[in-house]
Amino acid sequence: MNAEKQDYKVVVKNLTKYFGDLHVLDNISFNIRKGEFLCVVGPTGCGKTTFLNLLTRIYTPTKGDLYIDGKPADPKKHNLAFVFQEPSAMPWLTVEQNLRFGLEIKKLSKKEIDERVNEIISLLGLEPFRKAYPHQLSVSTAQRIIIGRAFAMNPDLLLMDEPYGQMDIKLRFYLEDEVIRLWKKLGSTVVFITHNIEEAVYLAERILILTNKPTTIKEEVIVDLPRPRDVTSPEFVEIRKHVTEQIKWW
């Protein structure tokens, strides 16, 4: 049991959150393994974003707590990275400066920052845009900067909140593959929130299905399909149907 516990990157214990009288999260407990790719799906407005904001301490929980490596989550101590739903590149910084942003806050050495930023730039093919500002780029490229900025942190835990919510299907496939590539290469632990079930089945090793408010975990679905996954294969379709049923159930 103890050895197993060591492997958990994130432990969520009896997490409960009220906003005034509004009961958003109800006594949620689960664990995330180190290096796991976890997708969280649930109906709109079920508190997915609240959950992420609790992890990063933008909100504090009403009851219960979240532990990263056995210690209460704290962005000052832990190396977290967050990809928000909305465009969140700093508009006054170039692509390169945006990638450096988090690393400079963490006060890494210049050499280390240079190395990491160059690696991400070449991994994401951003070299031609190094000196460009976000508003000069297409929406998808701007979003890639944000994903790059998150991975550049070498995060203990990478949180993604519907990062592809506003993109068309082609870009989405392209960026989903990109995230998988980065995740495999850098070995980060990823929590990916989405309302797109196909996306969840395509990406996840494990899917958490949430209920409506007050939110609890309805079911955990293990997805052990080989990668790259084929969205038309019968196994894929079956898992997708199952998850859809579970969300629809109430």
Partner: protein, 280 residues
């Protein structure tokens, strides 16, 4: 993949080049329009004055103004100082008052907008000072500081300070919550977020405030000089009135306008440096 990126990079460069070309064209057009606007205005003025449409007691001809400008460069009559001295004395007052307003108003606004406690502490004082017309400080400052540079600079300061503070306050208040959260999740302290996210976000509005401030500074300067001074452009205008010299009054106005334009352009240049990313 590499080729793909290369084509995309080329496309992007082409796009940027195209936009810059188009922008240059509109820029040339705008300059031409602006120049012909001014020329047209002067022409109508000259025609109105020469044709006797307007009584020459009320308005001087543009050519007379140019003439007087040249004369005033070396002749201290009738107000007691050559144009250069008047300009320098006005510049000294307006720039020291305005500079002080920017140096104090902008940081104060930024801090008030960011730190709630500081805001609650400062806001009542500021709200009391804000509606007081700057000119109403004139009698007090004369009693305290006489009619020298310091007194007038203080009055100019009051006029320029308010827009500097309000705009940087509003600007930093509008910092995007998402960008703050980005820095927060990176583990940044509140002060780091203030420095790295808040201040850059506030710059657009801050510069708008600074431009309003320089306008206010000049407006108040002339009023201050009209009441208590021994040289300066406002003083020159006042003397022009007393001696019934319309041309002197108009020369003062034109010079103030021209200096205002130059200073605005200087502020624009600084703005381009700080906010250049917006204009690429």
């Amino acid at each position: 993949m590499a080729q793909n990126t290369k084509t995309r990079s080329n496309q992007n460069n082409e796009r940027i080049a195209l936009i810059q070309k188009q922008r240059k064209r509109t820029q040339v057009q705008n300059t031409m329009l602006a120049a012909s606007g001014i020329l047209g205005f002067i022409l109508i003025w000259q025609i109105a004055a020469v044709s006797g449409l307007v009584n020459s007691r009320y308005i001087a001809k543009p050519l007379e103004i140019v003439n007087l400008f040249i004369v005033k460069l070396t002749d201290p009559n009738p107000d007691g100082a050559v144009l250069g001295v008047n300009v320098m004395s006005s510049l000294a007052v307006s720039l020291s008052g305005f500079g002080l307003a920017v140096l104090i108003g902008v940081p104060l606004g930024l801090f008030m907008g960011w730190y709630r406690g500081f805001d609650s502490f400062m806001r009542p004082i500021f709200e009391i000072i804000r509606p007081i017309p700057p000119v109403s400080w004139i009698p007090l400052t004369i009693v305290w500081l006489g009619i020298g540079l310091k007194a007038k600079a203080i009055i100019v300061f009051f006029a320029a300070f308010v827009p500097c503070l309000i705009n940087s306050y509003t600007g930093i208040k509008q910092t995007s919550e998402v960008l703050i959260n980005v820095a927060k999740t990176c583990g940044a302290s509140n002060f780091t977020i203030f420095r790295k996210v808040g201040i850059p976000s506030a710059m657009t509005l801050t510069f708008a405030g600074i431009k309003v401030a320089i306008g206010n500074a000049w407006a108040t300067l002339v009023a201050a000089e009209m009441l208590a001074a021994s040289s300066g452009l406002g003083y020159m205008i006042l003397m022009g009135r007393q001696f019934g010299r319309v041309d002197l009054v108009i020369l003062g106005i034109v010079v103030i306008g021209a200096i205002g334009l130059v200073i605005s352009k200087l502020i624009d240049m600084l703005e381009n440096k700080v906010l250049g990313w917006k204009k690429l």
